[in-house]
């Protein structure tokens, strides 16, 4: 009756051999291709460094004005601009300016990369049910696999530093970008698409003139979600050497510095709210044609 209480499993010897074989296979892959993969991601390294240099070496009032200006052009709301400026001033006053700039730089690069990769994949998914069938389970894995698990191979391949951190953040943050692009395009009104067809639009013209513009509010919601998820990864990414607000939090966890953790945590929340309000207000403004009101 022993088998009833102990699940009949692979014997220990085979299991150990299997794990060893996979580990060794990956290790030799790392040794063989690690350098060329690192070279492949070199442009990202350059992009990250430039962006961080800009954020940290530019005088703080310039950055403050720049962020306020972006907030204004995206939202056209003085309330949101005032909120942004106040949050940033507060962060600076509590001596977290440098770390915040590093984090914003990281989030910026991760978002740009997610958009650049995610939108084309989303479009492909919307155009073919087959692609959707293949990509969807991959996205499910990316969203549910604990991030520590894919941090291991990333670190083995690329070592510790900004680029592996960026890749970990993008893996975690890109699924909503892809999903919502796909959804937005699939939800475009069939009647309008038929009209575009009836006037002889090519598929590119249909994509450019009808599908993307009508899906844009949904795509904007995807960008918003991507930014939020990237921010959520800040602390985990700091474990593999990404500088910014994550590192003090990590230090606070290991040394039980309650206040340090709280301050930096609040700073992350602060910039999350800034990003969220500004990108949502922009998404809302894109829909101004939907305002119902007869003349």
């Amino acid at each position: 009756m022993d088998w009833l209480f102990t699940f009949p499993h692979m014997d220990d010897e085979t299991l150990r051999a299997l794990k060893k074989a996979i580990d060794e296979g990956f290790r030799s892959f790392t040794r063989g291709y690690g350098d060329s993969i690192e070279a492949f991601f070199q442009p990202l390294q350059f992009f990250l460094i430039q962006s961080e240099r800009f954020m940290t070496r530019t005088p703080w009032p310039v950055i403050l004005i720049l962020i306020a200006a972006i907030a204004w052009f995206a939202s056209r709301s003085w309330k949101i601009v005032a909120g942004c400026v106040a949050t940033l001033l507060l962060i600076g006053f509590f001596d977290m300016w440098d770390d915040t700039m590093k984090t914003i730089s990281m989030i910026f690069v991760a978002t740009v990369l997610s958009i650049a990769v995610g939108i084309p994949i989303g479009i492909l998914m919307a155009r073919s049910d087959r692609v959707q069938q293949i990509v969807n389970p991959v996205l499910d894995v990316m969203q549910t696999l604990p991030s520590f698990v894919y941090l291991i191979p990333v670190v083995m391949l690329l070592g510790i530093g900004k680029v592996p951190g960026l890749i970990a953040v993008v893996i975690y943050a890109i699924p909503p970008m892809i999903r919502l692009t796909n959804l937005g395009i699939r939800l475009v009104d069939k009647d309008v698409l038929e009209a575009a067809d009836a006037f002889g639009s090519s598929s590119w013209q249909k994509l450019k003139n009808v599908q993307i513009p009508l899906a844009l509010p949904t795509i904007m919601a995807g960008i918003n979600q991507t930014i939020m998820m990237a921010l959520a990864m800040v602390v985990i990414a700091s474990m593999i050497g990404v500088q910014g607000l994550g590192q003090p939090v990590l230090k606070a966890i290991s040394n039980q510095y309650f206040t340090l953790g709280l301050f930096n945590g609040m700073a992350i929340v602060g910039i999350a709210i800034i990003f969220d309000r500004v990108s949502q207000a922009y998404g809302h403004r894109l829909q101004k044609h939907r305002v119902i009101g007869h003349v």
Binding site: D189, D191, V192, E194, A195, A196, D197, A198, F199, G200, S201, S202, Q205, N209, V210, P213, L214, L216, H289, R290, V291, I292, G293, H294, V295
Partner: protein, 365 residues
């Protein structure tokens, strides 16, 4: 202004929806299986059955039918938004079925323009940008797009609204945008899929007048889909009535009202205001060369019986001379003839009798 309409030839068009539609075409055409059998035994849906319609250039062809009769499916075959299972469509000598992807795109850009029941405007574009959409994708220079767009916006009565978004306009105004968008394309064929069905009755009348007025100058070939017989009779040079995917009668408005092909059509025709549909020349006694003592009143051929009745009663005459466009007398019409033709017969048989007595009267003279 450009080329006028193009003739459209629809030959033996068949559309069956399902997994292997081609297998059932012959059986359906020969009457081997019925629509319900096709559905229950083979789980295929019959869309259109053996449809042949010949539409002359520059005329308004109305296709009338209730919902589910296949009329919207039929109009989508003309620009091949739907591919037929069997049959041919020839537009100005071009076999539409033979076009490849780019040729079809080109055909849709230059030969056809479409107006939709649900307007199908681009919500993120202003009225002007919607109207020039067809020209924009053809790659027409911007200045010419704007010029043509503004001309048609003005022509459909939307001047001053060119920078509004569709959501800011009422339904009637949105459909004017739809009409302007189709007209700006300046294609010889105008396809109107229940274009006015979503509008309320007064605005619908108004839009019908707009279309009839425009047609006098543009002379396009217009295919107009509707479920409303009054609209069909008012607009159509020729009318085809569709039921369960089959054409059950084709002819002019006079044919449909005076000689309904079956009880189904007769039941619709009974509700029609005949005084506004029937023309004087349909009811008149032809002159046949015989000279007559000329009554004072004259009425032009093509006028309705209602107009004739008004004219006769106002002039206090019992008879009028019907003249053609060259003002030559072609027949005469009496108040009694007018009254008899305007009264709606009670049954289909009686309707036939009226026609018989009318044609007997014609023969007697």
């Amino acid at each position: 202004m450009s080329e006028t309409g193009a003739c459209i030839e629809i030959k033996n068009l068949c559309k069956i929806f399902g997994a292997s539609p081609a297998a059932y075409v012959d059986a359906i055409n020969s009457g081997g299986i019925s629509k319900s059998e096709l559905m229950s035994r083979h789980s295929h849906v019959l869309g259109l059955k053996n449809i042949s319609i010949s539409i002359p250039a520059g005329s308004i062809q109305v296709i009338m039918g209730l919902s589910g009769s296949g009329k919207s499916t039929l109009i989508r075959h003309i620009n091949r938004l739907i591919d037929p299972t069997a049959g041919r469509i020839v537009v100005n000598g071009i076999d539409v079925m033979g076009l490849n992807k780019t040729e079809l795109q080109d055909f849709r850009r230059h030969q056809t323009a479409m107006v939709f029941q649900k307007f199908a405007l681009l919500p993120h574009r202003t009225v002007l940008k919607n109207v020039v959409y067809g020209l924009e994708i053809q790659g027409v220079p911007l200045a010419r797009q704007m010029e043509a767009g503004m001309r048609w916006i003005e022509r459909v009565g939307l001047k001053g609204f060119e920078n509004h978004y569709p959501s800011q306009l009422s339904g009637g105004m949105q459909q004017r945008v739809g009409l302007a968008r189709a007209l700006t394309n300046d294609a010889p064929i105008l396809l109107m899929d229940e274009a006015y069905s979503a509008l309320d009755p007064l605005i619908r009348m108004d839009m019908q007048t707009v279309l009839l007025d425009l047609q006098k100058e543009i002379k396009k070939t217009i295919v107009f889909i509707t479920h409303d017989l009054d609209e069909a009779l008012r607009l159509g040079d020729r009318i085809a009535i569709l039921r369960n995917g089959e054409v059950i009668q084709q002819g002019t408005s006079q044919d449909i009202v005076l000689r309904p092909a079956d009880d189904y059509i007769a039941s619709f025709a009974r509700e029609v205001n005949r005084g506004r549909v029937l023309h004087v020349e349909t009811v008149m006694t032809p002159l046949g060369g015989a000279a007559i003592a000329r009554p004072a009143a004259t009425i032009e051929a093509g006028e309705t019986l209602e107009t004739a009745a008004r004219l006769l009663t106002q002039a206090n005459e019992s008879e009028a001379i019907v003249i053609d466009t060259m003002r030559r007398p072609v027949g005469r019409i009496s108040l009694q003839q007018v009254a008899r033709a305007m009264v709606t017969p009670n049954t289909a048989k009686e309707a036939g009798d009226t026609v018989e007595s009318l044609s007997q009267a014609t023969a007697a003279s």
